[in-house]
């Protein structure tokens, strides 16, 4: 479990986060949603320690991540996997080398053990047989899957995904969502997903935090989204006439 306690973040005079207090639970897909500029990426970067909060603290279980020195933070990061928006695969390395990189850097496994683990992760993300390809030789969806494989190769306790569906077609986006969801449930990982994608919200949102102007405007799960009377959430999720109509139909069908 990860807890953000009264987290503030400013860049100069600009206040981006204004007192975020929320929890991200183990074995659940925790979604951070909100408009562009609401502070989602900043919150995610604070959670993984790429940024320091101006005020407040981030707790990994009972460990205060914010108060740790760099060395202790690195130890926590060994428990963390992250999928970046642009996948952040190393261009000069093959798919296999990309996934093997954390194993090479932090484990003393034999060559065969590493290869077995890489192949297991590739199999897990349905990317068997692409070991020798370079990232530039794969599609956006494949890169995301390789990114997930790299993120889970050290069996992390915490998985962070920044816009995992951005730039993908709806079908591939669904596949990525399903993949993240099954990995989360199988390994009881605390997964935090930063997303704009409404299919993700309604599909895998076990715990959803809506950010608006640097504050939590709503928190709940995918089942509570339909019945919400929160104006921010309504305006955000059911922004298009199509989704509004869908919601109205769903609510009308429920009435006796």
């Amino acid at each position: 479990m990860i807890i953000a306690e009264n987290v503030f973040k400013s860049f100069g005079e600009t206040k981006v986060l204004k007192g975020i207090t929320t929890s991200f639970y183990a074995g659940k897909n925790n979604l951070i949603i909100g408009k562009s500029g609401a502070g989602k990426t900043v919150l995610l970067k604070l959670l993984v320690g790429l940024l320091e909060p101006t005020e407040g603290r981030i707790m990994y279980g009972d460990r205060d991540f914010t108060a740790m020195d760099k060395k202790s933070k690195r130890e926590i990061r060994m428990e963390v996997g992250m999928l970046f928006q642009g996948s952040a695969l190393f261009d000069s390395m093959t798919v296999e080398e990309n996934i093997r990189f954390p194993l090479d850097m932090f484990t003393s496994k034999t060559k065969k053990e590493k290869l077995d683990r890489v192949n297991y992760c590739l199999d897990r993300v349905e990317m068997v047989g692409v070991n020798d390809r370079y990232p530039s030789e794969t599609s956006g969806g494949m890169q995301k899957r390789v990114g997930i494989a790299r993120a889970i190769v050290l069996e992390p306790k915490y998985l962070f995904c920044d816009e995992p569906n951005s730039g993908l077609d709806p079908k591939t986006a669904l596949l990525i969502d399903e993949l993240i969801q099954s990995i989360t449930y199988e390994n009881d990982i605390t997964t935090v997903i930063n997303t704009h994608d409404m299919n993700s919200v309604m599909g895998i949102g076990d715990n959803i935090a809506l950010l608006n102007e640097g504050q939590i405007a709503w928190q709940g799960n995918k089942n509570e989204v339909m019945d919400t009377d929160n104006t921010f959430l309504e305006n955000f999720i059911f922004a298009s006439p199509f989704l509004q109509r869908l919601r109205n139909d769903a609510l009308a069908n429920r009435r006796p």
């Binding site: 320690g49 970046f84 642009g86 850097m105 932090f106």
Partner: protein
């Protein structure tokens, strides 16, 4: 301006402090260092040789022109080419050229990794990115650049021989006599000191420029240019300081 200067000096020193750390996995650093040694050393050999031959040739021709109608014996051409090359030309010109070739490459490589979130990805894995990305490059340069400077010195002297003998300015025997005259091994020590210091400067300054790059491709281009400009200035400044310290 001074505030910004002190800020960058401080940030540069802090980055170096961060880069001097126990490697997570020495084998990975070793592998990266070998790759860098190949890139910097083998990758720069041809350009260094080419430039050095011409520097030696031009020094010989120019000095021969200065000696015309003088009482200075012609074999001095060999002596002057040797000492100019060893003391100044080989370490300084080689490193200025390498600051352009290797320095800009390092700034662009690390800067590109920053922009594509590769550095963030490594940080999140728990890698000390300053150490992993910078230390192998600096160490590789400190090992390889003195070798390149040594090659440059030989090529420059050879260039002087070719130009002066082929141009009929001096006989080969005279040139060799000049090379053997008044030799002071301390000059070779000075050449290696310069090579090591310049190697450190051109890689660490370039790495600093790349590591903290912000923005897009224009900023990356600017960082690459700044890496070359600042390391050239630092090389010239340290050249003067080394000359002052080692010749007093």
């Amino acid at each position: 301006m001074f505030k910004s200067l002190f800020f960058h000096i401080g940030q540069y020193l802090l980055l170096l402090k961060q880069a001097i750390a126990r490697p997570e996995k020495p084998a990975m650093y070793w592998k990266e260092m070998m790759r860098q040694m190949n890139d910097i050393g083998i990758g720069s050999l041809i350009i260094v040789c080419l430039i050095s031959v011409f520097i030696g040739a031009v020094t010989a021709v120019q000095f021969s022109y200065q000696l015309q109608d003088s009482f200075i014996p012609p074999y001095y051409i060999g002596y002057i080419v040797r000492d100019t090359t060893i003391i100044e030309m080989a370490p300084m010109i080689t490193c200025l050229v390498l600051a352009g070739k290797v320095g800009s490459n390092i700034a662009a490589e690390i800067g590109g990794m920053r922009q594509k979130e590769h550095i963030d990805a490594m940080e999140i894995m728990g890698v000390n990115t300053a150490a992993y990305l910078i230390t192998p490059k600096v160490l590789a340069a400190i090992v390889v650049i003195p070798m390149l400077v040594c090659v440059a010195a030989f090529m420059s002297i050879a260039g002087g021989l070719i130009a002066s003998v082929a141009g009929g300015m001096i006989t080969q025997a005279d040139y060799v006599l000049g090379l053997q005259s008044f030799f002071d091994p301390y000059n070779v020590f000075m050449m290696f000191v310069k090579a090591v210091v310049f190697a450190f400067i051109l890689t660490s300054v370039a790495a600093y420029q790349g590591y903290y790059v912000k923005g897009g491709s224009i900023e990356l281009g600017a960082a690459s240019t700044q890496a070359v400009v600042y390391s050239n200035i630092m090389i010239l400044l340290s050249d003067y300081m080394i000359a002052m310290l080692l010749t007093q």
